[in-house]
Structures are given as structure tokens and as C-alpha cells.
């Protein structure tokens, strides 16, 4: 059985701060105008994806199976906010923010994801949410960061992402360890938790949000001239790491998402033509005002290492 107390201690020992980074160190000049224009929307997406991860961990912390795991999730929630803050600080360093230092607006699919997590995140059963988060972490976080490090040579960026990647490796590890723990539980409980508690409108909400989210990100990546199979490789990791476990396979939600992941990575699958791509188009027509104002936690983001 995994020692979550030891993992929690490691997480505490590995904490880092924006104040550890010299944000004025040389290297910012490596960001050419051409690269800046290309990377700006990408960085904005990345910052918002950290927000989705953050909100997911906030909900997970409310339903953790043990006090240690609850505390781990509390740290992960904060770490995702830290990633968003550090990425915003990089954007500032590279001159990607406007005069007010304001954050670029999230795209509609990110807004929907945040909305659905704000509205339903705390009521989703643990198994569903605990399965969804690693898929997002593998697909979005993992893949996007790889692209970034290939494109940008600024040493400060590499220093920052050394920290972020180290955090993320612990996130993925714990994500799957928790699935193992849940999967080892009684089967009837798994079924009830996965299906019984899910209202149809929540399932539909999740599909409306997360299906187009991944395809929208793929479109953004392709628009930047980057190969989409990198994203697919990252999604495949979700299936391969999960199936290495002994008990994860017993979780119905895992199989549902694994099946979705398999469709996502198969570009010729009807999933793209008939479901995901049309949904990207459809969601892009949703008027933002319908979604209302996001909750106040989205205002917490800051590129300042020090607050007084």
C-alpha cells in the first residue's frame, strides 16, 4: 500500500516560491517578436489550464478518502495556482501582458470547464473526479509543457518548468495511487459511486465541457504549427499508466475515460467528425454573458512574488 504520509512530507519538502526565481535574469531577449506573437495565446491557455487543475483539486480535497490525501490535495490545489502565477510572471517577463498586467481572457471551452467545476465539482463522486483529473493532467498540462520547452530557450523559463515538472510528476503519481486505492475498495461501492450519484444533467455537462476542451486545445496546438500526435502521446500515457495498476482497472469511470482517450487519439475516429469537432464549433457560439461571472478565486492570480 502506498505511504501517503511520506508523499505528503516530500511535497512539503519540495515547495518553491516565485521569490526563488530571478525574474530579471538575462535570457528574456531570446523571446523574438515572432515567437512572442505565437506563444502569447498558448501561454494564456496554459495559465487557464492550471486553473482548471486547481479547481479540480479543490473539489477533490473535499472528498479525499483519508486525511493525508486531503492535505496532499490541498497542496496540489495551491501548486496549480503557483503554476498559473509563475506562468503569468513569465508572460510579464516576455512582454505578453497589457499595461495593466491583466490576464488574457480564457477561451469559451476553458470558461465552461471552470463553470462546470464551480457548479458541480463539489458534488461529483470521488471516483469520477479522481479519474478525470489525471486525464486532464496527462493530456493538457503534460503535453503543452513539452511543446513550450521545445520552442523557448529562455533559461528562466527552463528553470521555472523544472519546478513545475517536478510538481507535476508528483501529481500524476498521486493521481494514479489514489485510483489504485479507490479501485481496491468493494466493487458495489465503485458502481454506486460512479453511476448512482451521477445525475444525467451532470454527465451531459461533463461531455459538453471536456470533449470540446481537448479538441479545442488540439486546434490551438495545430494552429501553432506543432504536431498533434504529441498531444495524443500524452493522452496515451493516461491509458498506459492506469493499466499498469492492479486495481485501477476495476473503476468503471476509468474505463469510460480510457475509451474516450482512445477515441481522442484516433484522428480518423468518428468521435472527432460527429461529436468533438462540432462541439468545438457549437460551444464557440455560446454568448459569454450566459455563463455569468466566474467565482472570485479566479481573481487570485498574481505575477508578483511578494505581497505585503
Amino acid at each position: 500500500m502506498t505511504d501517503f504520509a511520506a508523499m505528503l512530507q516530500t511535497i512539503k519538502d519540495k515547495q518553491w516560491s516565485l521569490a526563488d526565481i530571478d525574474w530579471d535574469a538575462p535570457g528574456a531577449e531570446t523571446m523574438t517578436d515572432e515567437l512572442r506573437a505565437k506563444m502569447r495565446p498558448f501561454m494564456a491557455d496554459l495559465v487557464w489550464i492550471e486553473h482548471i487543475g486547481a479547481r479540480g483539486f479543490a473539489s477533490l480535497a473535499r472528498k479525499a478518502p483519508t486525511p493525508e490525501i486531503q492535505e496532499i490535495y490541498r497542496y496540489f490545489h495551491a501548486e496549480e495556482q503557483k503554476h498559473a502565477n509563475a506562468e503569468l510572471a513569465l508572460m510579464k517577463r516576455w512582454g505578453m501582458l497589457d499595461e495593466n498586467g491583466a490576464m488574457p481572457e480564457p477561451n469559451i471551452n476553458v470558461r465552461l470547464a471552470i463553470k462546470v467545476l464551480d457548479d458541480f465539482g463539489d458534488t461529483l463522486p470521488l471516483t469520477g473526479l479522481a479519474t478525470l483529473i489525471p486525464l486532464l493532467e496527462c493530456a493538457l498540462d503534460g503535453a503543452l509543457v513539452k511543446f513550450l520547452l521545445e520552442e523557448v530557450t529562455d533559461p528562466v523559463c527552463h528553470q521555472v518548468f523544472k519546478h513545475i515538472n517536478s510538481d507535476e510528476s508528483r501529481h500524476i503519481t498521486v493521481d494514479f495511487q489514489v485510483l489504485e486505492l479507490i479501485g481496491a475498495g468493494p466493487r458495489h461501492k465503485l458502481l454506486i459511486e460512479t453511476i448512482g450519484n451521477l445525475k444525467p444533467q451532470v454527465i451531459i455537462g461533463l461531455i459538453v465541457v471536456f470533449v470540446p476542451l481537448i479538441n479545442k486545445m488540439r486546434d490551438n496546438i495545430v494552429a501553432m504549427g506543432l504536431p498533434e500526435n504529441k498531444l495524443y502521446n500524452a493522452v496515451k500515457r493516461f491509458a498506459s499508466v492506469g493499466s499498469r495498476g492492479e486495481h485501477t482497472k476495476r473503476i468503471p469511470a476509468y474505463h469510460v475515460l480510457k475509451a474516450q482517450a482512445a477515441m481522442v487519439v484516433d484522428r480518423s475516429h468518428a468521435y472527432h467528425k460527429y461529436l468533438a469537432d462540432p462541439m468545438v464549433k457549437l460551444t464557440s457560439k455560446i454568448p459569454r454573458r450566459l455563463l455569468g461571472k466566474p467565482q472570485s478565486w479566479t481573481e487570485e492570480i498574481t505575477h508578483e512574488p511578494v505581497a505585503s
Binding site: S17, A64, Q70, E71, A78, K82, V306
Partner: protein, 165 residues
Amino acid sequence: MTTAGFRGEVLRGIEWFSHDFTGQRVAVVAPGREAAQIVPEVAATARSVKVFQEEPDWVVPVRVPGGRAVSAAVARFFLRTQVKDPWIRRLLTPHARFGSRRTAVSVGYYAALRHPDCKLITWPVYAFVADGVRTAEGVEHHVDCVVLGPGSVFARDEITEGRPA
């Protein structure tokens, strides 16, 4: 982990009581049930207060007769009427499963938190540095004085690791 690295003033136990914080930026590091007692008092004189709430607890304005279920219901209603922001309300709501299950009596905690110079922070504190505290969202919060609640994890560590001179 102790407050040893911090250069400013550290108040422990009930040293915060009737203390004059005029002109000071104060960090209160404590579980919710203690913050509920400490924060209104500190906010009365301090220049600014950052409340590093280690875990949320139910707060009732006056002592409530009856069991925990009754006081939790009163506390929930009190919170709803006092705090309009749904996210902040969430941060102040105790965890259903592993909470301390203790209830604090404080009429002024939520009112103090509504003040613009008083901020609730629930990110975990992971270190004390010369000028303040570092939290896991990557920010270093500069303060002049730290009030350590007796139930804080740092107060407990100071008992086992020894109190910094």
C-alpha cells in the same frame, strides 16, 4: 517547521489579547476556531491582517444549546448571512469528513474578514522567512508580526522541536 526564520515579532498563546498592533501588518496563523477569536481583536488595531486559516471550523455568533447538529445548522445560516461571496463561504465551510468537529463562538470573525484590510488565505503555509511567510501558491507574504494560534501546526512543532530564541 518553526517560526525560527522570521525576523519580526511572534505572539503565542494569548499574547495577542489586548495587544496594540497599531501600524503593523499582522499574519494570524491558526485553525479557524482560533482565528475566529483572534482576528476581530487583531483587526481592531492592526494596519492590515492576513488570516492563514489552517482548517475551517463552524462559527456561531452566540453559544447554542443542543447538539452539534443544531450548532452546525446555526453556523451554516450565520455564514450565509454574513459572507456573500460563495467562494469565500466555501473556504470557511468545515470539511464534512475530517474536520475538527469543534465550533467556535465569535460574533465578529466574518465581519472582520469583510474589511478590505483583512484577507482570508487558505493556501498552506510552508515556511517562515525573514520578512514573513511563504505559502504553497508561490507567494511570499510580508508582515511585521505573526500571531501563532495555540492549535496551529507550527505551535505544535515548536513544542516538539523547541521554541526559537
